[in-house]
């Protein structure tokens, strides 16, 4: 068998799930079928288990849930093999950090609060996205950026015009500007975003533009350059991801133009 070396331990390339013995392939699954509980239902569950690659499959529990559904728990040895050489890991370009780590990183690097200005621009009145990221209430069980003690959030709300946003970002000395665009009729989101990024580039000296971040369900991933923004976030993004990205981007800026970043900090404080 081929093997690979990961640090001190030698791992095989081909593995199977582990129940109580190496190579037994044992797994446990539970599922519901939309049929009443009887012998036929149990047969149906075993058929599904077989099609999932469980052989032999052991139906250990079946229970009626109302008259139309049955719940099953199945144990079995799965016939599939896992080839570790074929596992592809898609990494985020940044590491996910806890709120505590985010705060610590900002404190260490900036020695002041990171300022985030957020808005829905143009006619877009859908603040759901920006509020989920910014409001302390947050999204998907994660608190919003307001929760981070080292981030100062300025939420401008909905239907903010671009010049207004630029002015506010300047007044607040924003490190990052978050813009949410939900309405996509006639590609409004693209148009609005490009107008926004152009306005920031015009208003700030080169190299001093705050991080421009845009979020919405319909942006094409990877089109940052075309839109003139630093990062696009799509559907399901959590506040923690945005906060982690902010720290990552800040750190990168630091390593690339370290002295400049430091001078900036001094001028602002």
């Amino acid at each position: 068998m081929n093997t690979r070396d990961t640090g001190s331990k030698i791992l095989p390339d081909i593995i199977r799930p582990y129940g109580d013995t190496t190579g037994d392939g044992m797994v446990q699954v539970s599922f519901t079928l939309p049929i009443p509980h009887d012998k036929r239902a149990e047969g149906a569950a075993l058929q599904l288990a077989a099609k999932m690659g469980l052989a032999p499959a052991l139906l250990v529990h079946a229970k009626a849930m109302g008259s139309d559904f049955t719940f099953f728990i199945v144990y079995g040895s799965v016939s599939h093999l896992v080839d570790l050489r074929e596992v592809v890991v898609i990494e985020r370009e940044f590491a996910m950090l806890s709120a505590k780590d985010v705060n610590a990183a900002i404190k260490k690097r900036l020695r002041r609060k990171l300022v985030v200005v957020g808005a829905c621009i143009g006619n877009d009145a859908h603040t759901v996205g920006i509020d989920a990221i910014l409001n302390i209430k947050g999204f998907a069980g994660e608190k919003g950026l307001e929760y981070y003690s080292e981030i100062r959030v300025v939420n401008c709300g909905a239907q903010v015009q671009v010049p207004e946003l630029v002015a506010r970002a300047r007044a607040e000395k924003a490190d990052a500007v978050l813009v949410s665009q939900v309405v996509t009729q006639k590609d409004r989101h693209i148009h609005n975003t490009m107008t926004m990024s152009a306005a920031f580039r015009e208003a700030y000296p080169a190299g001093k533009v705050p991080l421009l971040i845009v979020g919405g369900p319909r942006f094409e991933q990877g089109s940052e350059d075309a839109l003139g923004v630093d990062r696009i976030f799509g559907k399901g993004t959590t506040p923690g991801e945005v906060a982690s990205y902010l720290v990552h981007a800040m750190t990168q800026a630091g390593t690339q133009t370290g002295t400049e970043a430091m001078t900036n900090t001094k001028e602002q404080s």
Binding site: S30, F31, T32, K63, M65, T127, V128, K137, G141, Y147
Partner: protein, 530 residues
């Protein structure tokens, strides 16, 4: 209640806590009495029978309030100029008037003397049927409870349904009731709290929840009436009177016989950045309606613990419960209507976490012996390990049984993973049933020893709560500032700083002028339905 002397708290400390809560709350009530909001005024029009929306979904109540405000202001209330316009024959009825006002073809005046009086008495007559309908719904509920009966066990079992589609919610809610739920809550669509209008009609598209609309309320209540009859148990319906349209949603709840409403005194301010004055004004009016409608409010103290640490911030829950109690009673709610909230959110990694949960739950039980306390399950420490989560929920259920909680929000092992599967709900209910069946009577045997860990912890939390209330009452900002508002603005609660002159919905707040008239308030303050 058999919990009487379980904690041996000092009655003098409890009295101090309540009197501090009153001291903190009463200046805010004064502000609430001297202001109105666009949503309060829209709620009054809804009680007068105005409903529906234009082809773009903008409700007629919004059109009419905006038109009146634009022309003569809301300082005297919306009804006086509106019913004056009807008296002058500007339109045959409210709906036509609203439609004409949307087109800008009505002129509103502020009538004087006898004319004003006549407009006000017409307004009062017009709002009366709305209040009468609320009274009738309350009587119907009482009758149905008598006929079908209340749940046999305490705590009542509270389950959440939320598909976004009211026609999907209905069979799910009925199934949940058949599986043992006593109370069904339909979670609202994300972001509805920040809409400054109430959507119309039956809705089939929501995000992580279903819109609160009058028609959705009606459909769900009717479906639960059917299943109540089938099961021989009155199934209660819950929705959310919160956000920018709190008063209107409270009115709709009364009109459609909802049974419980989430209605917290500070949640919107702290977690949704809604303007504090707007919130307190809206809240007082909505609680007056709830009082009249016989609705049980549920408060949201669980939220404090999701942002702050459940051990260090335990006393903020107690403070919020005391404030909620003060504001609720001031608005006319009675003890049996105060579903004060608390939650099982102490980190399971901490030694003695369960003992501390018991202390906190008993403290709430003993401070509010007659209130139907709402006990909420772990969320913050649910990791996605569903097996461990199932055990945590079991301990949560056990704490609820041992401390005689009244409303038990059923915890899902898939919290923070997915919208609960049908099987998750079934397993969760099995968990509840097992614990209540095995240990439901344990409250009788459970007496924490004198000055033991639990008694001491409860006393400590109570004394920290008193300290915090004292700090709030003495929080003096500029001269004339209101201490509670100052404290909210300083970030005393839930770590959030919310100044009184900022936040969403601020532009919808209006200071009442002498002669302000609100016929709904007049009727609500004249006496309860019973």
């Amino acid at each position: 209640m058999s919990t009487k002397a379980k904690l041996e708290l000092d009655p003098a400390v409890i009295r101090t806590a309540r009197s501090l809560a009153r001291k903190a709350g009463s200046p805010v009530v004064k502000i609430a009495k001297t202001h109105t909001t666009v949503s309060v005024e829209r709620a009054v029009l809804r009680l007068a029978g105005l409903s529906g929306a234009d082809h773009e979904g903008v409700p007629w109540v919004n059109h009419l309030v905006d038109a009146v405000r634009g022309e003569v202001g809301l300082e005297l209330g919306v009804t006086t100029p509106v019913f004056d316009a009807l008296r002058r024959g500007e339109a045959a009825d409210l709906l036509t008037l609203a439609q004409k006002s949307a087109a800008g073809s009505v002129s509103f005046h502020l009538p004087q003397g006898r004319e004003a009086h006549a407009a006000q008495s017409l307004a009062l007559r017009s709002v009366k049927p709305g209040i009468a309908r609320i009274d009738k719904n309350r009587a119907t509920r009482d009758r149905l409870i008598k006929r079908h009966g209340d749940p046999k066990q305490r705590p009542w079992i509270y389950l959440i349904v939320a598909t976004g589609d009211i026609y999907e919610d209905i069979p799910q809610a009925q199934t949940a009731a058949r599986e043992g739920a006593d109370i069904i809550a339909v979670i609202r669509s994300t972001g509805q709290s920040l809409l400054d209008f109430v959507p119309e009609g039956a809705t089939r598209e929501g995000y992580a929840g279903t819109y609160a609309t009058q028609e959705n309320f009606r459909l769900m209540r009717a479906a639960l009436d059917d299943v109540s009859k089938e099961l021989g148990r009155y199934i209660r319906l819950v929705n959310y009177a919160s956000g920018l349209c709190m008063p209107e949603i409270a009115a709709l709840a009364g009109l459609e016989r909802l049974d419980m409403m989430l209605n917290d005194s500070m949640y919107g301010i702290l977690f949704r950045d809604i303007n504090p004055i707007r919130t307190f004004v809206d809240q007082r009016f909505s609680r007056q309606i709830h009082a009249r409608a016989g609705i049980i409010i549920n408060t949201g103290e669980d939220n404090y613990l999701t942002t702050a640490d459940a051990v260090d911030a335990a006393h903020t829950v107690t403070v919020s419960q005391l404030m909620n109690e003060y504001f609720a009673k001031e608005a006319g709610l009675q003890d049996w209507q105060l579903g004060l909230g608390h939650a099982f959110e102490i980190s399971p990694e901490i030694p003695d976490s369960f003992r501390m949960e018991l202390a906190q739950a008993l403290l709430a039980r003993q401070l509010f012996p007659k209130a139907p306390l709402k006990w909420m399950p772990p969320t913050k420490h649910m990791t996605g390990d569903v097996f461990r989560g199932y055990l945590l929920d079991g301990f949560f259920n056990l704490a609820g049984a041992m401390t005689s909680q009244d409303i038990l929000l059923v915890g899902m092992m898939t919290e923070a993973v997915v919208t609960p599967f049908l099987s998750d709900r079934d397993l969760a209910l099995q968990n509840v049933r097992y614990v209540l069946n095995a240990a439901g009577g344990l409250a009788e045997d459970f007496h924490p020893p004198r000055d033991g860990f639990i008694q001491s912890r409860a006393r400590q939390v109570l004394s920290e709560a008193v300290d915090l209330l004292e700090k709030i009452v003495n929080d003096k900002g500029e001269p004339g500032s209101v201490p509670l508002l100052q404290a909210i603005s300083d970030g005393t609660f839930g770590l959030m700083k919310r100044p009184a002159d900022a936040g969403k919905g601020l532009d919808g707040v209006v200071k009442c002028a002498p002669g302000y008239d609100n016929p709904a308030s007049t009727l609500l303050e004249a006496g309860t339905g019973k």
